[in-house]
């Protein structure tokens, strides 16, 4: 870890878009990233895409992480992409997605602009390392 990074903590927004109420994973990842030295803002359930983009802006985060277990990840990510674009955050923040995401959908998510997909079962260290590698110190 570089010295600069120790001075400036990476800021992460973890959000639950849509209506899915399964938040164990989102909260576990939030805690794991905190333990990895990041600042984490967790939005709580049922966030509209616009609300997620707004929170990302207001909190000036480096990373936006979405957790979806309902299977609605593709349509929800399309809407979140639009909302991030509207706030000129798309491409500026690191965008990651986790949850019940079948492998067959990973390519489509990447094509949408998702930087990393971490399906259920991914070790937390892998997510933390991915963020630390990608977010400029």
């Amino acid at each position: 870890m570089s010295e600069e990074r120790q001075q400036r903590r990476i800021r992460v927004l973890i959000a639950k878009p849509g209506l899915d109420g399964h938040d164990v994973g989102a909260k576990l990842v939030s805690r794991a990233l905190m333990d990895a030295g990041m600042e984490v803002i967790y939005t709580g359930l049922r966030q509209a895409p616009e609300a997620i983009a707004r929170a990302a802006m207001e909190e000036a985060v480096d990373v936006v992480g979405l957790s979806v277990l309902s299977g609605a990840h593709l349509p929800l990510c399309r809407k979140v992409k639009q909302a991030l674009e509207d706030r000129r955050l798309f491409g500026e923040v690191l965008w990651i997605v986790g949850g019940n995401v079948p492998r067959g959908d990973h390519a489509e998510l990447r094509a949408l602009g998702v930087d990393g997909v971490f399906p259920t079962g991914t070790p937390f260290e892998e997510i933390a390392r991915f963020i630390q590698d990608k977010v400029p110190a």
Partner: protein, 528 residues
């Protein structure tokens, strides 16, 4: 030899003897099956008289598609139905709500109006096949629709059986389909309890779900302790409204989770059954033995299943079913082996059903009641588990009770911390999981038959909703919704007015919008 602990914290010895059993509290409170304190089960002859009900959780797409799956399951020998609703329905939103987009019919059946309820259960004999509605935040309009549908079909409410999940406290702790703030949510559950006690006496308006608390990270002892504490909270509320404890307690059933150590599950259920009976008798003065019986669905939980090597989940499911039968459950359901990926395919759902049928017909699980009774080990750990659950409940009470703990977010935070701890232990290998942290394999990209989500069905549901709105007597629906508003404002029981409104084809979203106006919306306390 290093000491061995169960997830619940109980230390397990390598050998149990009569001395251990005596030291744990002895055999004095085992009793007989069907008799207080029901350690050995709630019926004298249990599965010899009638095997457990098989009730797989199912529902997706529109009512028409779900109806087809129901018929399929019944044809293959399923003896009850357990209805899955989609997320908009569970959150009290109509299918055309902007928040419902992309979610209609995805994880369960979409229900907007009575028309959907009618179609889902068409031609199914509701006396023969009992129906369990997995609905919580939106339980009031959905139960109202179920009763309206049954009545319209000619079934007497006075003899109608069935169950609604209707446990909002665990939704705040784990599953997240809340709508209203904590206090009015409990008031609404009280409305359903009161309505059923007076009008649908054989119906269980509440099925308390330790299941989802466990799935959120609680250990088995906590699962039972939180479950019983939640049941007490609803009972306290009902009694404060002047309802009769004997009557109301008969309407409370339970839904518990099975995964992990088999013996720990058995001890949890036998201890929980005994403790619940004692609580009702000693704390609530209940004297009707039927009201003291802990009736439950106990099924194989998704939390035990893995994405890795999914066929292993078939084996796990069979062991969970075994644990459930050895624990004296009334109803069983198993998460299917593909459930870590998708909602179950027809093939996977049938395999779960066959697993339970093999237990009934081939393995001898129904031969005799509570076959583990009298074992030094099982009775010792049952005694110890009972003490542990009771201590956890006392701790909750000392902190101001479960309702306050949930409203302040403390219970959620405690469960989350535990989930994190469990995850850490899985990661370090302290807890073993086959295919995950031992015997891992490089797995090929596998073709999993995923249940398809059909946009066309979602569009059809919205069209159907529009047609219902067009064809109903709009003025009557408005007038009846206004009556719901007045009842809610006046603090009256809203069930009668909601039943009238849904009979006039007022929708789930419309009823919930009125209730939201009066009660407000829950604000999630986010704590770590």
């Amino acid at each position: 030899m290093p000491p061995l602990f169960w997830e619940s914290g109980l230390e397990v010895k390598p050998v149990y003897t009569a001395t251990d059993l005596e030291a744990s509290g002895g055999t004095g409170r085992i009793g007989l099956p069907g008799e207080y304190p029901f350690t050995r089960g709630i019926h004298p002859q249990m599965y010899r008289r009638r095997p457990f009900t098989m009730r797989q959780y199912s529902g997706f797409g529109t009512a028409a598609e779900t109806h087809e799956r129901f018929l399929y399951l019944i044809k293959h020998g399923q003896t009850g139905l357990n209805v899955a609703f989609d997320l908009p329905t569970q959150c009290g939103l109509d299918s055309d709500d902007p928040m419902a987009e992309a979610e209609v019919g995805r994880v369960g059946m979409a229900v907007d109006s009575l028309a959907d309820m009618e179609e889902a259960f068409a031609d199914i004999d509701l006396n023969e096949i009992t129906v369990s509605l997995t609905i919580n935040g939106a339980a009031v309009p959905i139960m109202a629709m179920y009763f309206a549908m049954a009545r319209k079909r000619g079934f007497e409410l006075a003899s109608l059986r069935g169950t609604a999940q209707n446990d909002i406290l665990k939704e705040f702790i784990g599953r997240g389909t809340w709508i209203f703030p904590v206090e009015p949510s409990i008031k609404l559950i009280g409305d359903t309890m009161e309505y059923c006690a007076k009008n649908v006496p054989k119906y269980s308006p509440v099925s308390v779900c330790g299941y989802h608390v466990r799935e959120s990270g609680a250990n088995p002892a906590q699962e039972m302790a939180y479950g019983l504490a939640i049941a007490c909270a609803y009972l306290d509320h009902a009694l404060a409204r002047g309802l009769d404890a004997n009557r109301v307690a008969r309407g409370i059933t339970f839904n518990f989770d099975i995964h992990g150590n088999l013996w720990e599950q058995v001890a949890k259920f036998r201890a929980g059954r005994r403790l619940w009976a004692r609580l009702l008798r000693e704390r609530y003065g209940v004297d009707d033995p039927r009201a003291m019986q802990l009736r439950m669905i106990a099924g194989g939980g998704g939390g035990g299943l893995t994405i890795q090597q999914p066929e292993n989940n078939i084996v796990r499911g069979a062991y969970y079913a075994l644990a459930s039968a050895l624990s004296g459950t009334q109803t069983m359901a198993l998460c299917s082996y593909d459930e870590a990926y998708t909602i179950p395919s027809e093939h996977a759902a049938r395999l779960s059903l066959r697993t339970m049928q093999i237990l009934i017909h081939e393995v001898g699980l129904c031969d005799t009641v509570d076959p583990l009774a009298g074992s030094y080990f099982v009775e010792s750990t049952t005694n110890e588990m009972e003490r542990r659950i009771e201590a956890l409940m006392a701790e909750l009470d000392a902190q101001g009770g479960i309702v306050k703990g949930v409203a302040e977010g403390r219970v959620q935070a405690a469960v989350n911390r535990q989930a994190y701890e469990l995850e850490r232990k899985l990661h370090s290998g302290e807890i073993k999981k086959v295919g995950v942290n031992v015997y891992e394999e490089e797995e090929e990209e596998r073709e999993v038959e995923l249940h398809p989500y059909r946009e066309t069905e979602a569009r059809r549901q919205v069209e159907r909703l529009n047609r219902v709105r067009r064809e109903r007597d709009g003025a009557a629906a408005d007038r009846l919704l206004e009556r719901v508003r007045q009842a809610a404002r006046a603090g009256e029981n809203v069930m009668p007015s909601v039943i009238d409104a849904v009979e006039a084809y007022a929708t789930v979203g419309e009823v919930c919008a009125v209730l939201r106006e009066v009660y407000g919306t829950y604000q999630e306390p986010v704590r770590f």
